[in-house]
């Protein structure tokens, strides 16, 4: 080979490397685009579900609703943002965070009531849940599209690769939110209702014979407590008030019991849904020590504060499920495990407390479709 051939060969190799890289970028871009179009589709579906649910509720209560105004309001609510407190000085951040979250919740209630003043509480809470799901889906779609557009604009392969790597995990969450639309629009229990369901089952199983109906006491907003006797122990069951889709204020309810009323429980047992590992089976029951509550960590922090101050033992029972299962209508595997979880709670109370002790059982999670 002479020099010209070597040059031609070198140029060919360089060109091949360049084309191969460009093809790889093209493949990544196409994959991200397909995910983005899926997210857009799900977001639009969520918005139309919210609007149709508002219309259905309006028809149910005999109210007239202006479609254009409704669409405008829903669009504004979906675009609204929660500005979290400043974290550079973290002292007292949980109280500040709780304050902001409660304001957001109240504002959402007011907005729904403004559109449908005659709607029942259960419908208002379910509409709020639908709005939150649509808000989350809109945010994910926009955030992903933003990173994708930045990656293309700056021709950053690494930015696109990072985004591509995260998309399968994000898609799990998006699909979970998509499934939650059906549950909240119909008011059926979701996987996350497992904790509330176990608490409700405990109340129903141990309700003293002769008492025809459960008399729950509303300790905090949308949060009830029921006292149930169990093998010589007093069990105070705390859960969100169903069947609307609320999670309640479990920390406030516990604070009222322990600090204001002077109750001194020996143990606090929290029951909640937990995300399973890929190899685990749905509905698997796991014991734990500590407070089993997800979310922003406000309630977890406050319950830990109270129980640490009064030296109360913390136990937890977790019901394992996948992320989509946690948000969609409760799966058969999870529903079948309710009895096992209830038995495990009873075992913990029997094994770790004595007769005459007071126990607090907290059913954690969204109580949509579950009473009391």
């Amino acid at each position: 080979m002479d020099g010209l051939d070597w040059l031609a060969w070198f140029i060919f190799i360089m060109l091949f490397a360049y084309i191969s890289r460009e093809l790889e970028i093209y493949r990544i871009i196409k994959e991200i685009e397909s995910y983005i179009s899926l997210y857009r589709y799900i977001r639009d579906k969520a918005v139309s579900t919210v609007i149709s649910s508002f219309k259905e509720t309006a028809a149910k209560v005999g109210a007239k609703i202006d479609t254009r105004q409704l669409e405008q309001r829903v669009s504004n609510l979906i675009e609204s943002v929660l500005i979290t407190p400043e974290e550079r000085d973290p002292f007292g951040i949980i109280a500040k965070l709780k304050h902001v979250v409660l304001i957001q919740n109240e504002t959402l209630t007011l907005e729904v009531k403004r559109l449908l003043p005659k709607a029942e509480t259960i419908d208002i809470e379910n509409l709020k849940n639908l709005l939150v799901a649509a808000h989350e889906l809109n945010y994910i779609y926009k955030a992903v599209e933003h990173i994708y557009k930045q990656g293309r604009r700056f021709k950053s392969l690494w930015l696109l690769i990072q985004l591509q790597a995260q998309l399968p995990f994000l898609s799990e969450y998006v699909k979970a939110l998509e499934s939650s639309l059906e549950s909240f629009s119909k008011g059926f229990p979701i996987g996350d209702s497992a904790g509330s369901m176990v608490a409700a089952l405990f109340i129903n199983r141990h309700l003293p014979s002769g008492s025809e109906s459960i008399r729950p006491e509303e300790l905090a907003e949308n949060t009830i407590a029921v006292e149930v006797p169990f093998n010589g122990r007093r069990v105070l069951v705390i859960k969100a008030k169903g069947p609307s889709g609320v999670t309640g204020r479990l920390d406030d309810a516990l604070e009222r019991l322990i600090v204001r009323r002077g109750e001194r429980p020996k143990v606090v047992v929290t029951v909640d849904a937990a995300i399973k590992f890929e190899g685990e089976k749905s509905g698997m029951i796991v014991d734990g020590v500590g407070v089993a509550i997800g979310g922003l960590g406000i309630e977890k922090f406050n319950i830990e504060e109270i129980t640490t101050k009064y030296g109360i033992t913390l136990y937890a029972v977790l019901i394992k499920m996948s992320i989509p299962e946690a948000f969609s209508v409760m799966s058969k595997e999870v529903a079948d495990s309710m009895e096992k979880a209830l038995n495990r709670v009873e075992e913990i109370i029997l094994e770790r407390t004595k007769e005459g002790d007071t126990v607090v059982l907290i059913g954690v999670g969204n109580t949509v479709g579950v009473v009391p």
Binding site: K186, F188, V329, M330, S331, K332, V334, A335, G369, V370
Partner: protein, 117 residues
């Protein structure tokens, strides 16, 4: 998801059909005219066809499970159980009527979804 799959399947199938027709046309033209430029077009069309075919196969393999939602209603007195389809507004521990066997109160004890296919 099902609608999206159907939409893309239709689009890819239509494009695939068009590519096959075009390949057949240019193959005939090549046989008749022996013009080599047709062979390049055929090669490009084959590449495009492979790309479409791969995507079509991927879509066809994509299984979207079907679910049905059921409610389990149980009599508190005699334990008689009925399984049905829940209505909007049904919830767990809702009283749904009387037991056909003992006339006791019937309660929804579970609402869940199960895979059909």
């Amino acid at each position: 998801m099902r609608e999206l799959k159907r939409k893309w399947m239709t689009l890819y199938s239509a494009l695939m059909f068009a590519v096959i027709v075009a390949i057949a046309f240019f193959t005939l033209a090549y046989i008749m005219d022996q013009n080599t430029s047709y062979s390049y077009i055929i090669m490009l069309l084959v590449f495009f066809g492979v790309y479409l075919g791969t995507n079509l196969a991927k879509l066809a393999r994509l299984k979207i499970p079907r679910y049905r939602i059921v409610k389990v209603v149980k009599c508190k007195k005699c334990g008689y159980v009925e399984v049905g389809v829940p209505q909007k507004g049904d919830y767990v521990f809702k009283e749904t009527g009387t037991c056909p066997r003992c006339k006791g109160p019937m309660y929804i004890i579970s609402i869940y979804r199960e895979k059909v296919s």
